[in-house]
């Protein structure tokens, strides 16, 4: 396969007028950014919109990218900001992010296999996890999502969020602890 270079080289190509270069950045990071926005927002439609807006914002601010941070960190920061903005807007409109989406959610997922009881149980657990995650404070949620959905390393999260490594671990621990308590409450 053709070698296209690092993200930073591709961004340089995009800045020098290569129309296809930014498309390559989108192809490389689209899935991971979608995973992040999906984990943060919990709804497919919102996640798709936030992903699109993330890349649009990145394209508009391409000249502002100075190469001090990695392209991945830069994109993550933009995506997290997009999610925060969306959630604020949703709160203003007094929208419940998940309540009306419980039935729709599973249409996006792969078809479930097993007995009706198992499927129902699985769906309930999924709903519980999404609610629990959605209930976490933003600073905890983004660390949990980056770790669980994007499978980034602690160091990558620390670079993307510009946080010390110990803070990332501490936030992840707290996030998992809160999730555990919420899920226990749901099971009871």
């Amino acid at each position: 396969m053709e070698t296209l270079g690092t993200d930073e080289i591709i961004v340089e190509r995009a800045l020098s007028g290569d129309a296809d270069a930014f498309g390559e950045i989108v192809r490389r990071w689209e899935r991971r950014i979608f995973a992040l926005t999906y984990g943060m927002l919990g709804r497919e439609e919102d996640a798709r919109d936030a992903t699109q807006e993330t890349f649009l914002a990145a394209f508009r601010n391409l000249r502002g990218f100075r190469g001090e941070a990695k392209v991945s960190s830069w994109l993550h920061r933009i995506a997290v900001n997009q999610c925060i903005t969306r959630q604020r807007r949703a709160k203003v409109r007094n929208e419940a992010a998940l309540d009306d989406e419980e039935d729709k959610a599973n249409s996006f997922a792969a078809p479930l296999e097993g007995s009706p009881a198992t499927i129902t149980e699985g769906r309930q657990r999924t709903v519980a996890v999404r609610r629990a995650l959605n209930g976490l404070p933003m600073e905890l949620r983004q660390v949990v999502v980056m770790k669980e959905f994007e499978e980034l390393t602690f160091r990558e999260i620390s670079e993307a969020l510009d946080l010390p490594l110990s803070t990332v671990k501490s936030r992840l621990y707290t996030g998992l602890k809160q999730l555990q308590m919420r899920l226990e409450k749901f099971a009871a």
Partner: protein
């Protein structure tokens, strides 16, 4: 603070998280594994967090399995020269195909003619062999040159009788034969003579024509 309230009674939360996600160093992992049997709190949290991760993983796998990229990656395909040529002809219009076919046919005919004209392979051309032992002196070389010049020189021209009317043809033939490369320009006298000859010839022709006319008249 909330984070403080939820913090473990054990101080080794960083190690717990590092081991849980497989990012602990070898030494850190071994220390924590030694600590785990002695700390019920860490043991319980480790098991509970693993279960939380499993639940998130189920949701994640289901949710992301349906993801379809809006920008499908197009892998660059390298074609062979033959495949590229075939594609070119597939896409080219009919007239271009015909023109290329005609050009190919013409090329084949010309190539066949060239092969035929070259003839069958006969005896190979003999090339004079060099005698490395032969030594030529300057005298030998001069003699060889003289002999070659003697062979090339034209035979002696016999003098023609002066009173015989010279026909223009043999004279011109003689001129042509004698040293064609070093031809000197005609002198004035020669030009006059040549003009007279030509006039003589034309008068003969005219008389021939008259005779011919006469013959025709007679036949009538």
């Amino acid at each position: 603070m909330k984070e403080k309230d939820l913090s473990s009674t054990c101080e080794r939360t960083d190690e717990l998280v590092s081991v849980l996600y497989g990012e602990a160093g070898e030494r850190e992992r071994r220390d924590f594994e030694l600590h785990l049997p002695q700390c019920s709190n860490c043991r319980a949290e480790f098991a509970a967090f693993a279960q939380v991760r499993e639940s998130i993983g189920e949701w994640r796998d289901g949710a992301l399995s349906g993801f379809v990229s809006a920008h499908p990656a197009v892998a660059p395909v390298r074609k062979s020269a033959l495949a590229a040529l075939r594609q070119f002809f597939d896409l080219s219009p009919l007239w271009l195909k015909g023109a290329v076919g005609f050009a190919a046919a013409v090329f084949c005919v010309l190539a066949a003619l060239a092969v035929m004209r070259s003839g069958p392979a006969g005896e190979p051309v003999r090339v004079a062999e060099r005698n490395p032992d032969a030594v030529y002196t300057k005298q030998d070389l001069d003699r060889a040159v003289q002999e070659a010049l003697a062979k090339q020189s034209p035979p002696a021209v016999t003098p023609e009788p002066e009173n015989v009317v010279q026909s223009p043809t043999p004279k011109s033939a003689n001129i042509a034969k004698s040293e064609p490369k070093a031809r000197r320009p005609f002198s004035r006298a020669e030009r006059a003579q040549l003009a007279a000859d030509l006039r003589l010839l034309s008068s003969d022709d005219e008389s021939d024509l008259d005779l011919l006319d006469d013959r025709i008249n007679r036949q009538r």
